[in-house]
C-alpha cells in the first residue's frame, strides 16, 4: 500500500481556562493519501480550524495537543521537536488563511514577503520563481505587483498572492482555512477554479476547511463533517452529498444556499 500522506489517530486538543478545560477537538481520526483533497466542514466553533492548526502544532498556548499517532509523510509529528516543525512549516506543509487582508504585513512590498518563503538560493532565481508562481495563480501584471503593498490589491488578488506564496516550495500538503469566505461570490468562483487546477497540476494533498458545502462539493474527494470537536460523519464527497447518514450532515445540506426553492425551515415552522 502507498504511504499515507497524513495519518492522525485519537487527536485531542484542549485549552485550559481557569478551573475548567475546554476540549476543542475530541478523539479525531484522519487519513489522507498523497494528492487527496479532504474537506473539513462544520459551523463556527466546531473545532475545524483548531484541528488544522494542531497538525502544524500552531495552536495558541496554553493548549494541549495529544494523540495516539500523528504521522505526516513518514515523519512523526508528535515527537518532532520545534526545530523540525519549523523546517516543515511553509515547506512540506503550507497554509492559506481566511482573510488575505490581514494575513500580509501591511508595510512590506508583496515581492519581499513572497521571497521570505524561499530561504535558500540566489536572489535572481528566487525572484524568477516567485514571478512564475504569480502568473500560474492568474495574477495579471506580476512584475509590477511584486513592488506593490498589500492594500493596493483587491481581496481576490491578494488571496491569489497568498496561494502563490503557499505553493512556492511545492508543499506535499496544503492547508486552506476558509480561503474563500472573505470573498465575493464571483471572486470565490474564480478561486475555487484556481484550486481545482492547482491541485491537479501540483499533485498535492489538500486539507480544505469550509463551512460551505457548495464550495466543498466542487473540490473535495473526501469530506469530514465536524460538530463540537468531533467528526460526526466521514466519507467520499459523493456519498456525503447524496446519501448523508448523520442528522447533522442532513441539516447542513438542507441549510446550504442553493438556487431556487424557498427558505429552508428550522424547528418545524
Amino acid at each position: 500500500m502507498q504511504r499515507r500522506l497524513l495519518d492522525v489517530q485519537g487527536l485531542n486538543v484542549s485549552f485550559p481556562s481557569g478551573q475548567e478545560t475546554t476540549v476543542a477537538v475530541k478523539d479525531v481520526n484522519l487519513q489522507m493519501q498523497p494528492g487527496e483533497t479532504l474537506a473539513i466542514v462544520g459551523e463556527s466553533g466546531s473545532g475545524k480550524s483548531t484541528l488544522a492548526l494542531s497538525i502544524l502544532k500552531l495552536t495558541h498556548k496554553p493548549s494541549s495537543v495529544q494523540a495516539l499517532r500523528m504521522m505526516f509523510d513518514g515523519t512523526d509529528l508528535l515527537h518532532l521537536p520545534e526545530r523540525g516543525m519549523q523546517k516543515l512549516r511553509g515547506k512540506d506543509i503550507s497554509m492559506v488563511f481566511q482573510d488575505p487582508k490581514t494575513a500580509f504585513h501591511p508595510m512590506m512590498p508583496l515581492g519581499k514577503q513572497l521571497l521570505e518563503a524561499l530561504p535558500q538560493g540566489r536572489r535572481r532565481e528566487k525572484r524568477q520563481r516567485a514571478l512564475e508562481m504569480l502568473s500560474r495563480v492568474g495574477l495579471p501584471d506580476a512584475e509590477r505587483q511584486m513592488h506593490a503593498y498589500p492594500h493596493t490589491l483587491s481581496g481576490g488578488m491578494l488571496q491569489r498572492v497568498m496561494i502563490a506564496m503557499a505553493l512556492l516550495n511545492q508543499p506535499k500538503l496544503l492547508i486552506a482555512d476558509e480561503p474563500t469566505t472573505a470573498l465575493d461570490v464571483t471572486v470565490q468562483a474564480g478561486i475555487i477554479r484556481l484550486f481545482a487546477r492547482l491541485k491537479r497540476q501540483f499533485q498535492m494533498g489538500m486539507l480544505f476547511i469550509s463551512h460551505d458545502l457548495g464550495v466543498v462539493a466542487q473540490l473535495a474527494d473526501n469530506v469530514a463533517v465536524m460538530r463540537q470537536g468531533q467528526i460526526v460523519e466521514y466519507g467520499s464527497v459523493e456519498r456525503i452529498l447524496q446519501h448523508p447518514v448523520h442528522p447533522y450532515t442532513r441539516h447542513l445540506l438542507q441549510m446550504a444556499p442553493r438556487l431556487g426553492g424557498t427558505l429552508p425551515m428550522i424547528g418545524g415552522r
Binding site: 463556527s44 487546477r197 459523493e238 441549510m255 444556499p257 431556487g260 427558505l263
Partner: protein
C-alpha cells in the same frame, strides 16, 4: 413607501495638486420600496449597493437626486420632521457584534432609541425592550447581559429588536447574514420574514449572495458599478435573468453536485471588476461581458422594459 429618484453619489478624491476626480458610487438610480415588500439588492463589493442603501436610509446625502418618504423629501426636512422620518426608516448593519456598544447591556442598547423619541421613563423603556426581546425570540433575562455574552446570531436578533422598537415602516438590511453561520443566517431570515408578515415592514435586503436573496425577496435589483442593470421579479430569477452580469452572479453560486466541473465555466467574467476611478465608455459591463461587441464599447445602453424585467443591455430584445 420610500423612493429614491435619480440618485447619484460621488466621492471626490485628491491625490496630488494636479490629480483629483470623483468616484461615482451610485449613478442615476431610481428605486422604490413599498411596505410589506422585499427588494433584494445584489452585486459585488464596490458595486455601490451599500452606498445606495445609506442614501435611502437618510444616512448619506446623495450628490444629486432625491429620496422621498411618502411625499416628504427626506434631505430637505426640518430637524423636527427629520426626526419623525428617522423613526420610520431603520438600518441594520452587517457585523452584529460591532454594531452594539460593548459597555451597554442589551436592554440599554435596545431601549436607547426610545429615549430620543420622547420615552423618558426608565421603566417604560425597559418594558418596551422586554417586549421586543420576546418578539425576536430571546429570553427577557438577556436584558441585563452584555453583547460579549451572546453569540453572533443572538446579537443580530438584538440589532433587529433595536431597529424595530421605534416602529419603522422600512428597514434596510445591509448584509445582515453574511457574518453568520449558515443555519443561524437561515433562522435570522425566518425571523425577518415572520416579522414582515405580522407588521408589514418593507425591506431592502442588500447582499452579494444571490441564492439567498432570491429565496426571500419579491423583487431583485442587480447592481453593477453604481447602476441597476436589471430589475425583475424574484420568482425563478435564476432561470429568467436576462442581463449577462446577472447570469454571471447565478453561475458563481456553488452547486451541491459533486464533481460538476467548475473549470468548464467561462473564465474572464470571474475576475474583479475594473477600477471605478475612470469612467467606462459604453456599457459599464463590456470589459467583462462574454457577448460584448463594438456597439457595447461605444454606446451606453439604457434601462428598458422587457416583459416584467427592466434590463440595461443592448442584446436583450423585447
Amino acid at each position: 413607501m420610500l423612493s429614491g429618484k435619480h440618485l447619484e453619489k460621488r466621492y471626490p478624491w485628491k491625490r496630488w495638486v494636479h490629480s483629483s476626480g470623483a468616484i461615482s458610487a451610485v449613478r442615476n438610480v431610481s428605486l422604490r420600496i413599498r411596505a410589506g415588500e422585499t427588494i433584494g439588492l445584489v452585486g459585488e463589493s464596490g458595486s455601490g449597493k451599500s452606498t445606495l442603501g445609506r442614501c435611502l436610509a437618510g444616512l448619506e446625502k446623495p450628490s444629486a437626486g432625491s429620496v422621498f418618504y411618502g411625499d416628504l423629501e427626506i434631505y430637505s426636512l426640518s430637524r423636527r420632521e427629520a426626526r419623525f422620518m428617522r423613526r420610520r426608516i431603520q438600518y441594520i448593519h452587517q457585523d452584529p457584534v460591532d454594531a452594539l456598544n460593548p459597555y451597554r447591556t442589551i436592554g440599554q442598547s435596545i431601549a436607547e432609541p426610545l429615549w430620543y423619541f420622547g420615552v423618558k421613563n426608565h421603566a417604560d423603556r425597559r418594558a418596551a425592550a422586554a417586549r421586543l426581546l420576546e418578539m425576536v425570540e430571546l429570553p427577557t433575562t438577556y436584558l441585563d447581559k452584555y453583547p460579549l455574552e451572546l453569540s453572533r446570531g443572538q446579537c443580530q436578533r438584538v440589532n433587529i429588536a433595536r431597529a424595530l422598537i421605534v416602529e419603522p415602516e422600512i428597514i434596510i438590511c445591509d448584509e445582515v447574514i453574511s457574518a453568520l453561520d449558515v443555519s443561524t443566517g437561515v433562522q435570522i431570515l425566518q425571523l425577518l420574514k415572520e416579522l414582515q408578515q405580522q407588521n408589514g415592514y418593507g425591506y431592502l435586503f442588500i447582499s452579494h449572495d444571490l441564492s439567498r436573496v432570491i429565496q426571500i425577496s419579491d423583487w431583485i435589483a442587480v447592481m453593477y458599478m453604481g447602476e441597476i442593470v436589471e430589475f425583475a421579479p424574484a420568482e425563478n430569477f435564476h432561470e429568467t435573468a436576462l442581463h449577462p452580469y446577472a447570469q454571471v452572479l447565478i453561475e458563481a453560486v456553488p452547486r451541491l453536485i459533486p464533481g460538476e466541473s467548475i473549470e468548464a465555466l467561462s473564465s474572464s467574467t470571474f475576475e474583479t471588476p475594473q477600477s471605478q476611478l475612470t469612467d467606462v465608455e459604453g456599457c459599464p459591463f463590456h470589459p467583462r461581458c462574454p457577448l460584448a461587441t463594438k456597439r457595447c464599447r461605444e454606446q451606453k445602453p439604457v434601462l428598458r422594459a422587457v416583459g416584467a424585467h427592466r434590463v440595461m443591455c443592448h442584446f436583450v430584445e423585447p
